[in-house]
């Protein structure tokens, strides 16, 4: 994976020094909280309900064991012994003291990490496919492009005060595992008939209160013009994105209001101008970065044989282990969703254990997924059983990847000052209701996503089953959505009808799954059945009056 040179290191070191100075000026009263807010946000520091929250960037979700170990140590040293992996492939600490924040950034910088632009109205940490460089279906490894993007977007002087936050995802597989079309910009690396690589630009997607699927704006931008095209996309947005209403300030609203064709026209005009300026890093720079992402030294002829005589291990392999492009190797998904747990949470000890496993068995690499799980991308099949035993001993062996127990949830009202309702207790209750793994497997792939407010950090619009917490006259109320989906067949969920209380929403979810079980055709996922039969049968079952035999 990528390693900093002295230039990269000098940039994160400068940031630590700058932020230390800003915190000192704030604590001394030289700047107001109002003036300090955007500065701390650009360093990932939020003021939440109980304490400061620090969001640490994991660029394109990729980590080495030294970095992962540091994340565990920070959890112990500055927080309460755990961290929370997020839908943005980052990690958050929920109990941070302001005066500690500069020291944490310094600790992070010592392992080539930072919290740069993990918040604020700027270009956020770039996300990507958690199976990059390992997936059997990969066309182009997106990581070198993601790193190029990381450097370009870091302290970009023109785009630090955008109308609103800006999220970019980049993938290089046919299968979209990064919800790419639900980002401000989604880039899919594709190949044309001549075998040349191009960037397909989707611009103007997003979730939040106005969910939109991004239209294609650039069909096939040459990779050595990717940065220039991004400059053009961002400049048009910076100049013409709405600033009168923060709820209409994301680029999706601009693209929607002026139309994809007009936005494209403006981008093309700006792009033509920008190409004359020579802003693009040269091919040698892309090649230099690619050098860090060469295939690890896989063992030739590694065996594909697996002893599946341990039934629990066999279930885990079936559910959590994904095909690798290299024979004899596999991709391991570590679910951070034990029954009744808090989705995405891991203790310091668990984080360090995962670091150790990566060092010993996965060429020193880990990934964070947008589904709030961890991936060991390059594991010898011969090592799977040992890894599983170690995970199992640390309560990390939940065999529920992509099942109903693999819930995405935002921190909700337990932590977040924006939330209207709690997400975590609902996730825990659903997880407990469907605790039986046999039942989960019977339901098959079922992505359940919970947000505690309309900002949609829990991706409820994209859940096969989505839950949105709202405040109804001071009482937490939960709306149910069905039919959302991310990936190639991205769709947005539809609200079933009136909302429910905390126990009612769990019952409603169960009723929806019962409709699916009764109505599904051979091979259909929950979302497929929903698409075929529509909302009516679900609505009928969910809102039916209780009867004597019901």
């Amino acid at each position: 994976m990528y390693q900093y040179d002295s230039y990269d290191q000098s940039m994160v070191d400068a940031r630590v020094a700058e932020f230390r100075d800003q915190v000192e000026r704030r604590l001394a009263g030289d700047i107001t909280e109002d003036q300090f807010k955007p500065l701390r946000l650009k360093n990932g520091l939020y003021l939440q309900l109980h304490a400061y929250m620090l969001r640490v960037a994991v660029p394109y979700g990729t980590l080495n064991s030294r970095q992962m170990r540091m994340l565990g140590d920070i959890a112990d040293k500055y927080d309460r012994g755990y961290g929370h992996f997020t839908t943005r492939q980052n990690i958050q600490y929920n109990w941070i003291k302001l005066q500690d924040a500069p020291d944490i950034l310094a600790d992070l910088a010592s392992v080539e990490m930072h919290a740069i632009q993990t918040s604020g109205n700027c270009i956020r940490n770039t996300t990507s496919d958690q199976f990059a460089g390992a997936a059997a279906d990969e066309l182009v490894d997106p990581r070198p492009y993601a790193e190029l993007l990381r450097q370009w977007s870091t302290f970009h002087p023109e785009f630090d005060y955008l109308p609103r936050k800006f999220k970019i995802a980049i993938i290089g597989s046919e299968t979209d595992r990064a919800a790419m079309k639900l980002h401000d910009i989604g880039i899919q690396l594709v190949k044309n008939d001549a075998g040349e690589i191009g960037c397909k630009f989707y611009v103007g997607g997003g979730m939040g209160r106005t969910p939109m699927i991004a239209p294609v704006i650039g069909d096939f931008v040459p990779p050595l013009q990717m940065i220039s095209y991004l400059e053009a996309c961002l400049r048009v947005y910076n100049r013409y994105g709405r600033r009168d209403n923060k709820y209409k300030a994301r680029i999706k609203i601009l693209v929607h209001e002026i139309g994809a064709d007009e936005y494209r026209r403006q981008v093309e005009e700006e792009f033509a101008h920008i190409l004359t300026l020579g802003l693009e890093p040269p091919a040698e720079e892309l090649e230099r970065i690619k050098g860090f992402f060469e295939q690890p030294g896989f063992e030739a002829g590694a065996s594909d044989d697996l002893d599946l005589s341990d039934p629990d291990f066999a279930l885990w392999v079936d559910q959590n282990v994904h095909a690798h492009k290299q024979p004899g190797y596999a991709i391991v998904n570590i679910s951070l969703k034990p029954v009744g747990g808090i989705p995405g949470d891991a203790t310091a000890d668990q984080i360090r254990l995962m670091a150790d496993l990566a060092l010993e068995y996965s060429f020193d690499e880990l990934r964070v997924t947008h589904a709030q799980n961890i991936v060991l991308p390059h594991v010898r099949k011969a090592d799977l059983y040992t890894i599983w035993q170690k995970l199992d001993a640390a309560d990390l062996s939940a065999a529920n990847l992509d099942l109903i127990g693999d819930i995405i949830a935002c921190p909700g009202l337990d932590y977040c000052s924006l939330a209207n309702a709690r997400s975590i207790p609902v996730a825990q209750k659903i997880s407990e209701r469907f605790a039986d793994l046999g039942r989960q497997r019977e339901l098959g792939e079922l992505k359940l996503k919970i947000s505690g407010c309309i900002n949609a950090c829990g991706h409820h619009h994209a859940g096969h089953i989505g839950i949105l917490g709202v405040d109804r006259k001071g009482v937490e109320n939960y709306q149910l959505l069905l039919g959302g989906c991310e990936g190639a067949d991205t769709s947005l969920g539809t609200i079933t009808g009136p909302g429910f209380n905390e126990d009612g929403i769990v019952d409603a979810v169960e009723k929806a799954t019962n409709v699916y079980l009764a109505q599904r055709d051979e091979g259909e996922r929950f979302v497929d059945t929903y698409r075929r039969i529509g909302m009516a049968p679900f609505k009928e079952a969910i809102y039916a009056k209780e009867t004597a035999n019901g």
Partner: protein, 143 residues
């Protein structure tokens, strides 16, 4: 005339008052213009020759349109004074300089010493802009 706080040019300051973009279009002899966030900086491009001062107003420091306006003017060869006015805070100075501003009239005065420190925040830069600083990628691959 706006009280000047920070200026990084050796030529004589323009004494003409800056007019609005609309007024500028009607005045053949105006040499100073003031851009508001909603104005299109490109409207000035045909007249760059006669301009000696462009003020870019930041009614709120969070409104970043002026950064793009500044860069567009410099990218098209504007060489006169480019002044950031209004909501200009210490922590914005280095990015503003990178976008082509060479003078600053902040609502709250900033000392020259503090400004120098702010300009020195980044030892290196990742992007090529209009300030002539070589991007890190250019240093990694000298021509």
């Amino acid at each position: 005339m706006v009280e000047q706080n920070l200026r990084y040019r050796s030529d004589e300051p323009v004494s003409d008052p800056a007019v609005t973009v609309d007024a500028f279009a009607d005045q053949n002899n105006a040499t100073a213009v003031r851009i508001e966030p909603g104005d299109d900086a490109r409207a000035l491009l045909p007249h760059l020759d006669r301009l000696a001062l462009v003020e870019v107003n930041f009614p709120a420091y969070t409104d970043g349109r002026g950064y793009s306006a500044a860069r567009i003017l410099r990218e098209h060869g504007y060489a006169g004074e480019l002044r950031a006015v209004g909501g200009v805070l210490l922590d914005q100075l280095s990015h503003m300089r990178r976008c082509g501003f060479d003078s600053f009239a902040p609502n709250q005065a900033i000392s020259a010493e503090a400004a120098e420190k702010a300009f020195a925040t980044w030892p290196e830069v990742y992007q090529k802009t209009v300030d002539g600083r070589p991007a890190i990628w250019a240093k990694r691959h000298p021509a």
